[in-house]
């Protein structure tokens, strides 16, 4: 058992893995005790002699004592199991109420923020001037602007503020209220803003707001380009047997490294595929060579046409996957957006979706697709996707596994800016999930086992690169395949249409 917190999967309860495990053990025990009491009442256990004939020391006397103790134990076990189930339901109710309250409060604050935009612009200019003066003073002390910047970054790292669950929750709320701020800035009345909000209508939310950000970013920033993809390695490996194996197989992020791993499993009628997509490599918002960049992140959250998703679909097609083939999609960080896009737009028979530390809480996933999302509580990146969908909008279908990794005895390391987001933390969490007996996680593990069938897969690693308008046709790593162009934000090509349809 572990400190995992599980919710969703069609259930309204929320509880730690340990608490839910206690409930299952006690409920099973109550059932067994019922059976054993019935056995003890059978003639084989208490035969022939009636109580007036019993004497001290007769087996019937001891059996009566045992039966009485078992009856009391059965009632207690059943009562404890019910209390734990009620506690988990109460936890779930409270969490949903807090989420509703927080969403409404964020929406109102966002709207006020948007409404007061002209004043804020002045305040912002004053703040920038003040920060500039402060930075100048710091530079006078440190000797160079670079040293000042490094000092500031080190101060933020040491404070650990970016790994604080409160900060993460604040960012989640802020991201969720961007749409309301936009409507406030457009001087729409608050009731109209709340009515249009995605939580109420599904019309205008984080997804639409991200789309507007892409539109307002100008002709160069956050704009998609065609991508090339090529197979760069074909290692051999056995198939995964659980969440830990899935997390370990995700390609590690690195400049020039492969971003996609594809495993092909033989099937009777059709092959089966597992596709793994890695995390963001380039944090720039102006596109360069790397498709796993922030342009893809924002395009992905806007559910447009991120280059990383197009590259992954193209890699799947190049590997031989055809529409209707069963595909299990796995992703870490931005890879989770990619995996969700493959599920939504790939045209495959979706065997499941597993995401680690991904900002996909608001993204639509077709109903019925087994969907497990893993989040470290102190990780800022999943919060950038905003508040997850609520119960009324399919939010309960996703199994959400959360785990806190820092406390006062184990503070976040000050050597990294976002230590909670490390893939290692997710791999460790995934191994804890493998040890859980929760039926939702056990069911997904069973599904993975059935999917691979214990077969040794054909493995391929794929590297994608963006093709800028100036350098079309000359990418370093990917000369083998034609470019896959964006369907939005660029000129649609037949390849992009094919990729989106999964052909």
């Amino acid at each position: 058992m572990s400190d995992l917190i599980l919710s969703g999967g069609g259930l309204t309860s929320v509880g730690t893995d340990e608490m839910l495990e206690h409930e299952r053990v006690l409920r099973r025990l109550a059932g067994h005790l019922d059976e054993w009491i019935a056995t003890m009442l059978s003639p084989a256990a208490v035969p022939a002699r009636h109580s007036p004939q019993w004497r001290a020391g007769d087996p019937e006397v001891y059996l009566l004592w045992a039966r009485t103790a078992l009856r009391e134990a059965q009632q207690l076990a059943a009562s404890l199991a019910s209390s734990l189930a009620e506690a988990a339901e109460g936890y779930g109710r409270t969490e949903r109420a807090v989420q509703r309250l927080s969403t409404t409060a964020s929406a109102v604050l966002g709207w006020i923020f948007g409404l007061a935009a002209p004043v804020e612009i002045v305040a912002f200019v004053v703040a920038v001037l003040g920060a500039g003066a402060g930075f100048g003073a710091l530079t006078a002390l440190t000797g160079s602007p670079r040293s000042s910047l490094e000092t500031l970054v080190a101060a933020v790292r040491h404070s650990g503020v970016l790994s604080s669950p409160l900060f993460v929750a604040a960012v989640r709320g802020a991201v969720s209220s961007v749409d309301d701020a936009m409507l406030g800035a457009a001087w729409l009345p608050l009731p109209v803003t709340l009515a249009l909000d995605d939580d109420a209508s599904g019309w205008f939310g984080t997804v639409t707001a991200a789309g507007i950000v892409v539109g307002l970013a100008g002709p160069r920033l956050l704009k998609e380009t065609p991508v090339h993809v090529a197979r760069v390695a074909s290692p051999t490996a056995r198939g995964p047997t659980g969440f830990g194996d899935l997390a370990e197989r995700i390609p590690p992020s690195g400049v020039g490294k492969p971003q996609v791993r594809i495993e092909r499993y033989p099937g009777q009628d059709r092959p089966r595929w597992i596709v793994y997509a890695g995390g963001t490599v380039d944090t720039g918002i102006r596109t360069a060579r790397e498709p796993w960049d922030d342009t893809s992140n924002v395009q992905g959250i806007a559910q447009l046409d991120p280059g990383s998703s197009r590259a992954t679909l193209a890699a799947l097609r190049e590997a031989g996957a055809r529409p209707g083939d069963p595909v299990l999609c796995v992703g870490y960080s931005q890879g989770g957006i990619v995996a969700t896009d493959v599920v939504r737009d790939g045209g495959f028979a979706n065997a499941g979706l597993v995401t680690f530390g991904s900002p996909t809480g608001q993204m639509q996933v077709p109903p019925g697709v087994p969907n497990v999302a893993v989040e470290v509580t102190e990780d800022l990146i999943p919060a950038l996707g905003g508040e997850p969908r609520d119960a009324a909008h399919g939010g309960l279908e996703r199994v959400l596994v959360r785990r806190g990794i820092y406390d006062t005895r184990h503070p976040p390391p000050s050597t990294e800016m976002l230590p909670a987001h490390a893939l290692d933390n997710y791999a460790q969490t995934a191994r804890l999930m493998d040890g859980s007996s929760d039926p939702r996680l056990a069911g997904m593990r069973h599904r993975i086992d059935e999917f691979t069938g214990g077969a040794v897969p054909e493995v391929s690693l794929w590297r994608a690169e963006r093709v800028s308008a100036a350098s079309q046709g000359a990418p370093a790593a990917a000369a083998a395949a034609p470019a896959v162009g964006p369907a939005a934000g660029g000129v649609p090509t037949s390849w992009s249409a094919d990729a989106r349809a999964g052909r």
């Binding site: 058992m1 400190d3 509880g15 730690t16 340990e18 608490m19 495990e21 206690h22 053990v25 025990l29 067994h32 005790l33 054993w36 056995t39 003890m40 059978s42 003639p43 084989a44 256990a45 208490v46 035969p47 022939a48 020391g57 007769d58 087996p59 006397v61 001891y62 059996l63 004592w65 045992a66 039966r67 103790a69 078992l70 009391e72 134990a73 207690l76 076990a77 404890l80 209390s83 734990l84 506690a87």
Partner: protein, 99 residues
């Protein structure tokens, strides 16, 4: 046939048995129950876990200990019943077959 018929059938069947056979069957049932109960005690959470830090959690911990005590008590009673059946069987064998 309903459960009541099963029970009456069992009762008639058991009534037909001689004393030593009845005791041996009783002992087998008791021993099977003891094994199952011991397995259940081993599977019971050893403590109340770490998922709460409140009065409710402490109350849960106490009730869990109560439950363990009840099961251990039931198991001890079954062990006594087993010894008692052994003693009854020994007494029967010393008496020898009925004339």
């Amino acid at each position: 046939m309903n459960q009541g018929d099963d029970y009456v059938g069992d009762l008639l069947q058991v009534a037909d048995l001689d004393e030593s056979e009845r005791l041996r069957r009783q002992r087998a049932t008791v021993r099977r129950l003891m094994l199952q109960l011991q397995a259940a005690i081993a599977l019971l959470p050893s403590d109340a876990g770490t998922f709460w830090r409140s009065e409710a959690h402490r109350a849960y911990a106490r009730r869990l200990q109560d439950l363990r005590r009840m099961l251990v008590h039931a198991n001890a009673s079954l062990r006594e019943a087993d010894s008692s059946i052994d003693a009854a069987l020994l007494a029967l064998s010393c008496r020898g077959p009925a004339p």
